[in-house]
């Protein structure tokens, strides 16, 4: 697969077992020449954040996107390690293996679409130089166009104007989440419990009202913690599909909450 030419001055990582461009790391992982479980996500992330600080606008957005795909998958794998294993040690191993396959799958998929996007870009550019016949209709034909039936109210028209005149934002990788106000995992756990206690909810529903990224993260961590305490169960029909969270605690009292999330500082 062709690589972007950003390797030279792009994002580099220095780990105990690897030193070189991020690109190369990904190549090795996707060629199965390096064990993904050996890669420290925390180290890669902190280097990446350092790298982001010197990022030049949207120039390195490509690198950032690929990093996010890998990081999200690595995170999935680390979560497997966080979850309770009990007597199902083998199942845990299986999960790690599955997660690794998932990483390859996602990477390949992401790469495929990236390559296709190059084709899209070239085709659109080439096609935009072409000239289709699109000329003003002769008056004698224009008279035959069916009468216009106007159905737009002035309010709708105003809304359309607001929409059409709104500046288009440039997509970017935001860093504001790094400075988000502190959110209590324990507090969010209490909210989540109140939500799902009577009926199962999807993760999407659980975070629907959250207006800050920190709240979403805290609810996510809270659910992980509750799972650790066997208070909730998950159901996910397909990869990346809807995740349903069900209250499954047989015994639960609010004292459990006190210790919950202690390792997150709140």
């Amino acid at each position: 697969m062709e690589r972007s030419p950003s390797s030279e001055d792009g994002f580099r990582v220095s780990l105990a077992n690897f030193d070189g461009p991020f690109d190369l790391l990904i190549s090795l992982i996707s060629k199965h020449e390096m064990d993904i479980t050996e890669v420290s996500l925390a180290a890669v992330t902190s280097e990446f954040i350092t790298f982001l600080r010197d990022l030049d606008g949207t120039a390195e957005l490509d690198a950032a996107s690929e990093f996010l795909v890998v990081a999200a998958t690595l995170l999935d794998m680390k979560i497997v390690g966080l979850l309770p294993t009990g007597e199902y040690a083998d199942a845990d191993d299986v999960a790690v293996l599955e997660a690794r396959d998932m990483l390859f799958a996602r990477l390949l998929q992401y790469r495929a679409f990236k390559e296709i996007s190059v084709w899209f870009s070239q085709r659109i550019e080439r096609e935009s130089a072409r000239h289709p016949r699109a000329v003003r209709l002769e008056d004698k034909f224009r008279e035959r166009t069916p009468e216009l039936v106007w159905t737009t109210s002035i309010e709708d028209f105003h809304t359309l104007a607001l929409y059409a005149l709104a500046p288009r934002e440039i997509p970017f990788v935001g860093l504001e989440h790094l400075h988000a106000p502190l959110v209590s995992v324990r507090e969010q756990a209490a909210i989540v419990i109140s939500m799902i206690r009577s009926a199962p909810m999807t993760f999407r529903q659980i975070i629907a009202g959250a207006d800050q990224r920190g709240v979403i993260v805290a609810r996510f961590l809270a659910i992980l913690e509750l799972y650790r305490q066997s208070a909730v169960a998950f159901e996910q029909i397909e990869p990346l599909g809807e995740l349903t969270v069900r209250w499954s605690a047989e015994t639960w009292n609010d004292e459990n909450l006190v210790t919950l999330g202690a390792e997150y500082g709140s």
């Binding site: 000239h131 289709p132 016949r133 699109a134 000329v135 003003r136 209709l137 002769e138 004698k140 034909f141 224009r142 035959r144 166009t145 069916p146 009468e147 216009l148 039936v149 106007w150 159905t151 737009t152 109210s153 002035i154 309010e155 028209f157 105003h158 359309l160 104007a161 607001l162 929409y163 059409a164 005149l165 709104a166 500046p167 288009r168 934002e169 440039i170």
Partner: protein
């Protein structure tokens, strides 16, 4: 070489919206006016089928000092049916949005509208002019670009007497047009 000139002419005439004068065609093609005139005459004969060729469903006609390709008259009835069946009684979403932009930004040029909408608006503007919802209101002094504005028909459709009665868009948007250039 002469045949090539005819091919160049038909390429231009196939996409030209306005009738093309012989002089301007000669300028673009960098050929003498007499040569271009002769080539046009051959092309007319070619499309008309008088040169041992097929009579086409289109023809090359001189109108208002310029040449343009038109539907051959004998096919007018057929084409009327097509026009009737293909044109909707409603404006498309892109057309409505473009109309809204023109209503609030008028007088405005095609390229300014295109800059705000981030897409080519040529076809849509043609439709809106054809529908009598916008009209040419002048030209921009520096560039000579056509300025468009809305018509009374739009006001009637919206049920207002004047543009002042349109609900205002926020002040932020007023200098928005300047910011748009930076965004893209």
């Amino acid at each position: 070489m002469e045949a090539e000139l005819e091919r160049q002419l038909e390429a231009i005439l196939m996409v030209a919206d306005e009738p093309q004068s012989v002089v301007s065609l000669a300028t673009v093609l960098e050929r003498p006016v007499t040569e271009v005139k002769a080539a046009i005459a051959r092309l007319v004969a070619d499309f008309d089928g008088v040169a041992g060729t097929v009579q086409r469903g289109f023809e090359l006609r001189e109108v208002g000092g310029g040449w343009r390709i038109y539907v051959r008259e004998s096919y007018d009835e057929l084409v009327r049916d097509v026009v009737l069946s293909q044109n909707s009684t409603k404006l498309s979403q892109p057309a409505l949005e473009t109309l809204a932009v023109i209503a609030y930004k008028q007088p405005v040029t095609r390229s300014q509208v295109s800059g705000i909408r981030a897409v080519n608006v040529d076809t849509v503007i043609r439709t809106l002019v054809g529908r009598g919802l916008i009209t040419e209101v002048g030209t921009e002094p520096e560039t000579g670009a056509i300025l468009y504005g809305t018509t009374d028909l739009l006001l009637t459709n919206l049920g207002v007497d004047s543009l002042d009665q349109l609900p205002p868009v926020s002040e932020l948007l007023d200098d928005g047009s300047a910011g748009f250039d930076d965004v893209h």
